[in-house]
Symmetry: C2
Subunit: 346 residues, 2 copies
DNA sequence: TTGTACGCGTTATCAT
DNA sequence: ATGATAACGCGTACAA
């Protein structure tokens, strides 16, 4: 059956270049039909004589023919692919979105291509354009790109759906998280527990979502509680590192930029012998999969990650179909009270 | 300068379809030259008169011309892209590889496209072929694909580099982890601590890397210690769930399929009030970034993740250049003794 | 129903 | 140095 029966009596070479390119023309010649007919058969066009179709199919099978996606894309003017650009694949938050997006798009036979801008925040715009040019649509999550850049780029990125930020004055659809509401809920929760001196472990300074949180915090802090802002970051390691300085100040509760940071801080506090929540309360943001299992389980603002992917796809699909996408959604996080928060120590 | 100066007096539409396609032909017409010349200018061909080049550049600038990657790929016969297929983006292990691969390939102006086979293990082969056909090379990590399938597919995937598995009898380069050695080190460590009854939290049954571990364990167990094999999985949640059954049996140490699982189990044991390592020792595999911070820090077999990406790229590059890639590497994990292992309770 | 011929947007090979 | 023109591999009017 398979051609590897001769394995064992020699090395089977891994051909860097196929023996001879098998194109639609070759199949046509072998099957004794025109290329148009082959094309029709391959695309399931029903109006071809069954005998011809058979000949084509067996020829294609025999030659191992597979239409070139590139040539196909050029002729069709579409690729059947969408791309998503994320700032950090390591963040479980994006993994959730990616998963949902893959599934939703997959149902309509669209494939998802993931591009990670990683640390090259500098090249974020380049990557976005490049990714977009190779496919039919883009889901863009670029928290560090300036509004200026985004306005400039938007026309070249369409059809495009924005995640976690908006582009006022344009019709570019966007899915956002109501960070302010989430922060308010967390603060209210902490205040109700008697906390009055809070620390905020800030995310990347250039990130819009960090700015949103900071603004909400400052607004809430007015005449209500003391707020200490500590530069931190977005990763577990960042949170872990900054936790050392927590005891330098007189705070009783910590609001982390996100769950990863909160987790890192939680871990470090444990190492330092500081009990959570009796000596210090701590909250995160996002509700990524495993923070419900940390010790203690993390109180956080739960973002409905699983809804973002599908919603993004629907809007992208509308745009690609020339229709008007549904209105933007501003997801409201749900306060998830768990074990990492408790009454403020007297 | 920018055309968004009129923002504010109306909605700027997000054009699903660019106003008019600006192709190389249009630029040529506007600049008053042939398409060939435009192509030359765009590709930095030095032998074009400077005045013509100027005209072309300004025309291109003015029209916002950007060569179509698809058409370009078709004409050139190469895309400038490589793909990597991973079974689970959520596993930090792959994120490490992806990162290294992105950087290495990026230095030679190749972009990385990530495809996640997610739970569609069934479609893994399809995805692999699809991904490969759209670019110039593939880094494949498909732990659940059968050898049969892989042998069958190999020719269509070349140039291709395998991660975590080999294809004996072929010249397909592969980068593998010496799971057996890692397991042996972990076992030896546990035995030296006096443990004689071990549990193994098995990964996905269909995964080759799981089979490798199991084999190594059975080999080591011969007349040395008792081995209990518990079906588990590959995620944090899997480990968390299975930990409940750990106390049903009389084991003193646990070897988890990977760090994620170990972490999950660790977390659950803590909830159950079982102290690690005094009552139970536990080890993981991989050494993903944050397990050094868990409580207690996890003893594990450290895999040099950061080396995999670059090594994979070098081999892929060789293949694409028609050269013979360097020999395969069988990475030997390094035993990382931390706080999650201790003397067996008497 | 089938084949012919052209278009998709670009690069490369020739003449000139 | 520049411009026709033929690839690249495929889809699809249109004609037959």
């Amino acid at each position: 059956m398979s051609n590897r029966s001769q394995r064992g009596d020699g090395e089977v070479p891994a051909p860097a270049i196929p023996a001879e390119r098998v194109t639609i023309g070759l199949v046509a010649k072998v099957a004794g039909v025109s290329r148009a007919t082959v094309s029709r058969v391959m695309n399931g066009n029903p109006r071809v004589a069954e005998d011809l179709a058979m000949r084509v199919r067996s020829a294609a099978e025999e030659l191992g023919y597979d239409p070139s996606p590139v040539a196909r894309s050029l002729a069709l003017g579409r690729t059947g692919i969408i791309a998503m650009l994320v700032p950090d694949l390591g963040n479980p938050m994006f993994q959730g979105i990616l998963h949902g997006l893959t599934d939703a798009a997959g149902e309509q036979d669209y494939r998802l291509l993931v591009a990670d801008s990683n640390e090259n925040l500098h090249e974020e715009p380049v990557l976005a354009v490049e990714a977009r040019r190779r496919c039919d649509g883009l889901v863009l999550c670029a928290p560090r790109m300036t509004d200026e850049q985004l306005y400039e780029l938007a026309p070249r990125l369409a059809p495009c759906v924005l995640i976690n930020r908006e582009l006022p004055g344009t019709t570019v659809p966007s899915l956002t998280i109501d960070f302010a509401a989430g922060i308010r809920d967390l603060v209210t929760h902490l205040l109700s527990l008697g906390h009055r001196r809070l620390a905020y472990l800030a995310g990347p300074g250039t990130s819009v979502s960090n700015r949103n949180r900071v603004e909400a915090l400052h607004k809430a802090a007015k005449n209500t509680f003391e707020l200490l802002e500590l530069p931190c970051g977005a990763t577990f390691a960042d949170g872990h590192a900054v936790a050392d300085h927590l005891t330098d100040h007189d705070v009783t509760a910590v609001i982390a930029y996100n769950d990863l940071v909160a987790f890192g801080a939680l871990s470090r506090l444990h190492e330092l012998g500081i009990n959570v929540p009796t000596q210090m309360s701590i909250v995160g943001f996002d509700d990524i999969p495993f923070v419900r299992y940390t010790t203690p389980p993390l109180t956080t603002a739960s973002v409905p990650m699983d809804r973002l992917g599908p919603e993004a796809w629907r809007r992208l699909w509308s745009l690609m179909s020339g229709e008007t996408p549904e209105k933007n959604v501003h997801f409201r996080p749900r306060l998830e009270v768990r074990g990492s928060t408790g009454p403020a120590p007297s």
